[in-house]
């Protein structure tokens, strides 16, 4: 199934990607090629097959709940593009 311009803009918004017009066209065409190729998975009837989300046979890995050293506030903020005291500073939410 082909993905149209409207869907493309919707998916880009979901992914928080601002795509300029030129990129939108190129990506749209490539995306359709890729989706056509991966749609091959639907050829198989796998109604009785359970899905795999994790390739190892491990469940519920527990650790003791013991406090351990973690990053200091200074370390956590070391790569901040902009900081304000002990917080990451960001522009305000729009309307």
């Amino acid at each position: 199934m082909a993905i149209d311009r409207e869907q493309l803009l919707h998916v880009a918004h979901l992914a928080r990607l601002e795509l300029p017009e030129e990129e939108l066209e190129r990506l749209g065409a490539q995306l359709n090629d890729i989706l056509a190729a991966v749609s091959k998975v639907s050829e198989l009837d796998l109604s009785g097959v359970p899905p795999t989300s994790h390739p190892l046979d491990v469940v519920n890995v527990w650790d003791e709940d013991e406090p351990r050293p973690s990053l200091s506030v200074e370390e956590a903020l070391a790569n901040a593009p902009e900081r304000d005291g002990d917080a990451f500073r960001v522009p305000p939410a729009g309307s």
Partner: protein
């Protein structure tokens, strides 16, 4: 004079331990080799000129977080990002006294098969600089083959250790899923990502694996190894059963020269005493690629959501927050991450989830079962690692699907969480051909044993012909 082109890690450790060469001299010898050959290859994104450990040097792929050393994952969005903590694998290397030599080039976020998707420019193949080194770990593979590091670490999601090792002519292991910690690694697709060694010999590869493997409390997907890593010594393959899956060995994409070299290696297995038999994995190759290119992008779209300009990395100037997110990501990500984020977001979105991601997860179960069935009859499955030898730079960049096919033969076992070893098995058109050995989970020791015996029998010279 230290010949870094031929020195194995094992021999280098011997030189240092016997006091014949100091670790500082060794580090300097590699820095000198990098100064001489890396301007042409661009295997490194940054080099640490000063020795920083008492043993031999190591190079780390730039998706591996290193405290106080910039880690970009080949992306503009992480330009200038300096981790405040070490990844577990970097810490384990440090604890063994290894000296960090530098960070190697990678396709952006390890997404690619040629290292051409790096935002910092491509790496070139040491055998022929007009060709790619494979990817995503082309930097680590090229560095080892060019004598710019005795060994290195890579990361592998769908073939990013094995395929570059094949194209550069060295040994690369993608370990069993869960045996090596991903703590502090830039995440791509978490149900697939594994860190693993790249080395000149199988024994070096096994030694490095023993340094990094094992349970880590900071990564709950890790497990203890069921048995200790053994450095291989045996020269024969007696008692081993080698399966030759026809779909992996007769695919039309496999170049004749690659097929010939692999056939000779399979013949050698027989001569070394192994029992060799044909087998079939009917869905693995045909459905592995489409399955992978749904699961990996889906997980990537989720993992890469963290690059929003808030806490680290690039931030675009914007008046409001939504604009900041969208513009930061538009400016910071290159084409391939954008494609995968879009495919993944679409495949996970309402109304499409079951048909795409859900169905791909079921295909994954099918592939796990297909492999398990063959491991009742065989200890190992063999095939080419890559259908082709190293291709020309630019040959596949215009067509993402052509690039994706580079991983046709490495992907299925990655989806099944199985370990895979690449061992060089000859040349075609003057370029290395890699043999892929796939075993059941936790069978690394068997893979090392077979790889080591074959390596000795084949006698492949890993030094690129133009530098001999």
């Amino acid at each position: 004079m230290i010949d870094t082109l031929r020195l194995t890690a094992e021999d280098a450790i011997g030189l240092v331990e016997r006091g014949e060469v100091s670790s500082a001299e060794l580090h300097q010898a590699y820095v000198a080799a990098i100064a001489e050959r890396d301007p042409e290859l661009h295997a490194y994104l940054r080099v640490l000129e000063e020795p920083n450990g008492p043993s031999i040097p190591i190079a780390l792929k730039d998706v591996i977080g290193t405290k106080d050393v910039e880690t970009t994952a080949g992306s503009r969005i992480l330009e200038g990002y300096v981790p405040v903590y070490d990844s577990t694998v970097a810490a384990r290397c440090k604890a063994r006294g290894l000296s960090l030599l530098g960070k190697t080039n990678t396709d952006e976020f390890a997404m690619g098969s040629s290292t051409e998707n790096s935002a910092y420019g491509p790496t070139h193949n040491p055998w022929d600089p007009s060709r790619v080194p494979g990817g995503s770990g082309g930097g680590s593979a090229a560095a080892v083959s060019a004598g710019l590091a005795p060994w290195a670490l890579g990361s592998d999601t769908g073939g990013s250790i094995k395929q570059p090792s094949a194209l550069c002519g060295n040994v690369g292991l993608r370990p069993t899923y869960g045996t090596v910690s991903r703590y502090g690694i830039v995440a791509f697709a978490s149900s697939l990502d594994q860190v693993g060694p790249v080395a000149r010999t199988v024994r070096d590869c096994a030694l490095l694996y023993s340094i990094i493997a094992g349970r880590d409390h900071c990564d709950s997907t890790t497990v203890e190894l069921p048995h200790a890593v053994e450095l291989p010594e045996a020269e024969d393959l007696k008692g081993l059963r080698v399966g030759v899956p026809k779909e992996f060995n007769e695919h039309e994409a496999i170049e004749p020269g690659v097929r010939d070299a692999v056939q000779r290696a399979i013949e050698l297995c027989r001569e070394l005493g192994a029992e060799v038999g044909e087998c079939s994995l009917p869905h693995a190759v045909e459905y592995g690629m489409p399955c992978y290119y749904l699961i990996a992008p889906a997980e990537a779209s989720s993992n890469l959501a963290r690059y929003d300009g808030v806490r680290y990395g690039h931030r675009a100037a914007a008046a409001d927050r939504l604009e900041m997110y969208e513009r930061t990501r538009e400016e910071g990500f290159g084409d391939e991450p954008k494609r995968r984020i879009m495919v993944g977001t679409y495949a996970l979105s309402a109304g499409y989830y079951d048909a795409y991601y859900g169905q791909a997860q079921k295909v994954r179960t099918l592939l796990i079962r297909e492999h398990a069935e063959q491991f009742e009859r065989f200890d190992v499955l063999v095939s080419p690692t890559s259908p082709s030898v190293a291709f020309e730079l630019g040959a596949r960049t215009a067509n993402p699907l052509a690039m994706y096919l580079s991983d046709l033969l490495t992907i299925p076992s990655c989806l099944a969480g199985l370990p895979g070893l690449n061992v060089p098995c000859g040349l075609s058109e003057g370029l290395p051909v890699g043999l892929q050995l796939i075993g059941p989970q936790f069978s690394e020791n068997t893979l090392f044993r077979i790889g080591h015996a074959l390596e000795n029998a084949i006698g492949f010279d890993g030094v690129p012909a133009r530098w001999r």
